[in-house]
Amino acid sequence: MTGRAPSAETPRTERRRSRWRRLNLGLGLGIVLTVIVVALISFVWTPFDPEHIDASKRLLGVGEQGHLLGTDQFGRDLFSGIMVGARTALFVGILAVGIAVMIGIPIGGFAAARRGWVEDVVMRASDVVYAFPPVLLAILLVAAVSPGTGSAMVAIGIAYVPIVARVTRGAALSVFQLDFVSAARSYGRGNAYIFVRHVLPNIASVLIVQMTILFALAILAEAALSFLGIGTQPPTPSWGRSLRDAQTFLQLSPRLAIWPGVAIAVTVLGFNLLGDGLRDALDPRLEVRRT
């Protein structure tokens, strides 16, 4: 044992670290691409019609009668359902994160550019929303509108706005202090132009990492809302709702509760690994919010 502080890097730990980092990134990218490909394939082909009900094929086991993962209580093919569920998960992720970014980045950028009382008001307001756990906020927002994939996505997106706004502001603050921003100001560029042209490219890595993690969180949130019965409604397939249905049949067929959960966990794992891998590659000192 050497007397070094653990942070001091020997060539050996440095090598190990970069191997580890590449593993994270590679595995994450692999999983995410697989989920995307599966979702795309499900538009043109699934082994069976995922919505086809066949009472004679109820609760088949793994591999029986050509059903790779068996069938559910209505005789629907589980594997096909999971393939189609990937669409919903990705769709929710894209829209929720899209909404969060579209509202959060301008708010954060505005606060960072203006400083003073504008910043105080914006940040205090976001503190209040921030104190609410996003899933709870999404539940309330969905309640205020109506259950469904659409309102769930919007609700999750809005719930993540304060996270994006804070990250944007935090990262943008230091960039606004830099000389090239002063230079741009000196020849008359406005805040909006400076933010988009000079600040945004410099904080892109922070935002991309946070977006990837938010994507994973959005998938988890949609699954939770659908599990509670206020997210995706039938007949649209959703992994979360499959688990809700499976709960009723836990005594009879606990198997039903496994595969949709595995699908959620693997997808979320993929996005988390990708986010961590990107962070390590782009900016290892970054802190990312995870709940």
Partner: protein, 312 residues
């Protein structure tokens, strides 16, 4: 000074949260008067009841009425059951708070040793194993963990009840037992998060000069870690624990549904499905105040244990 300002921020946040909750609930379709009378009621009867309940008044007036009640601890009456909301909420908290506390205790029990171990074995085999385990824990939805735990330990082995809650006055032991699986489900996810924070907090302190000093005066690595590292790492970890407690509250909403526990989250969700507006409003506001109060407590404790926190 700091304390006064911090309490001021708390008061403002509670006010803002009350406005937020009230506004969101005001957009809700569904008229409490209609809910009380059912779909068969004549429009005249509904209008009469609306007047009686004060729903025909302007929103700011309604807000002031509700808020002045809330300040006195009176959150109004549920149009659905006709019962006062505050006693119901207190009843529900007797399930939700023990659940959250139990989950947090389990989380600390799991994540502190794991995080410290991972930091001590930085970038070695043990650290990587912990990192893989926590990565998996982050990906598992708590409600799915709950379903699997029920399948194995309630349906399979019958060690724990699959659902329901007997009540503290019926049997404390049975009540604790029925909260165990739910709190484990919550703790799995929370531990994954907290472990990472504990690990990086300990790593951070191990880089400090005073650790090198301790080492140079002859302390072994682990002695330096125990004597100086952990106490300093405790401060950022405490902050995160406070924040995560809020996330835990959201988790209880979902988990209470899995295990059919009569907690605040279940009440909230039932209220939403029944369109019991004042109940949802009261429940959501209670959760907000709990979370904000907890953040306040964390910030004040933070200052007590770490006098270095400057007045900024």
């Amino acid at each position: 000074m700091y304390v006064i300002r911090r309490v001021g921020v708390f008061a403002f946040s509670v006010f803002a949260a009350s406005v937020l909750v009230f506004t969101v609930m005001s957009i809700l379709p569904g008229d409490p008067a209609q809910v009380m009378l059912g779909t068969q009621a004549t429009p005249e009867a509904v209008d009469a009841l609306r007047t009686e309940l004060g729903l025909d008044r302007s929103l700011p007036v309604q807000y002031l009425d509700w808020a002045s009640g809330a300040v006195r601890g009176d959150l109004g009456t549920s149009p659905f059951s006709g019962q006062d909301i505050t006693p119901q909420i207190i009843d529900r908290l007797k399930v939700t708070i023990p659940l959250a506390v139990m989950a947090m205790a389990l989380t600390i029990l799991i994540s502190f040793p794991l995080g410290v171990y991972a930091a001590a074995r930085h970038r070695r085999f043990g650290d990587n194993v912990v990192s893989i385990v926590s990565q998996l824990g982050l990906a598992v939805p708590a409600f799915w963990a709950g379903l699997l735990l029920v399948t194995v330990f309630a349906v399979g082995y019958r060690w724990f009840p699959a659902s329901g809650f007997p009540g503290w006055d019926v049997s404390v032991w049975q009540s604790l037992k029925s909260l165990f699986l739910p709190s484990v489900s919550l703790a799995i996810v929370q531990s994954a998060i907290i472990t990472r924070y504990v690990r990086s907090a300990v790593l951070e302190t191990l880089r400090e000069d005073y650790i090198r000093t301790a080492r140079s005066k002859g302390l072994t690595r682990s002695a330096a870690l125990w004597r100086h590292g952990l106490r300093n790492a405790a401060i950022p970890v405490l902050t995160i624990l406070g924040l995560q407690f809020a996330a835990l509250t959201a988790g209880t909403v979902v988990i209470e549904s899995v295990f059919v526990l009569p907690g605040l989250g279940k009440m909230l969700l039932d209220g939403i499905t029944r369109r019991d507006l004042p109940l949802v409003q009261g429940g959501a506001f209670t959760i907000a105040v709990l979370i904000l109060g907890l953040n306040l407590a964390v910030d004040l404790t933070y200052r007590l244990i770490d006098p270095r926190v400057s007045e900024q």
